[in-house]
């Protein structure tokens, strides 16, 4: 079985592993962006009230 990624030096990562990592990070970025937007909207609503 392959070594887990955290035990593998970055220079040994395959293209597939790098692409998947970028995608996971991008998905998390999207998640945080939507959470922040939601929080800001809720904050605006609270201020309006």
């Amino acid at each position: 079985m392959d070594k887990p990624l955290e035990d593998k030096p970055l220079e040994d990562w395959t293209i597939a592993e790098l692409v998947n990592t970028i995608e996971v990070h991008e998905r998390l970025v999207e998640l945080f962006r939507s959470l922040i937007e939601k929080r800001m909207d809720a904050g605006t609503e609270d201020t309006e009230k």
Binding site: P4, I15, L18, H25, L28, F32
Partner: protein, 216 residues
Amino acid sequence: MNEIPNDKCSICEQTFERVDLELVALKHSVQGYSGPNDPPIFWACNACATKEKLNFYHTKWIEAGEAQSTKIIVSNLFRTLMLSNESILAQSNESETSVRSYLLQHQAGWEKLPLDSMLFFLNLLHAHAQFFADMINKKATQEEIKAHLISKTEKAKKDDVKKLVDQRKKETGLVGEYTKDERRAILGLMKGPMKCTEKAAYEMICGVIKDAQAKK
């Protein structure tokens, strides 16, 4: 491993169904932690697990200071920590769904984070995505990246077709894979007065097609 109650969240102490609890293994010692397992291993509900892992990561990141190499290791640790489900499910070729479902499952934890933590993680993950993108650009040619993405898309398309076929099979109760016309004819014969079996109906259709071709 010491006894860990597996129906109770170790953090909020509420009782959950086993399926809603996850085993959090932080892999490194946490300052001030004095539990039975070091590095800490505990059962937590999805919401508490998310917050705990983010707090752990946040602390480790700050501790890493300016050392870029340590930060990258911490960043990678975070990825594997947050998406531990991903590596398990990746073996069944469902990593795409698992990341999404993991995020959904842990939504309650993400939503409870303070705004400044959210901003911190947004900037950090954005920088990391960029870091890995730069790395891949150095390592591989545009053609190699393109080839990988194309093969990935093709695989995704094949998976979609397979899903659709499986869904059709489930809906119709048919076992074999057929074209739209074949499926319609087989279902007609099975449900008609002859009440054929699927196999008999398919053989009958093949016979009709053969006859028609022979006549031509």
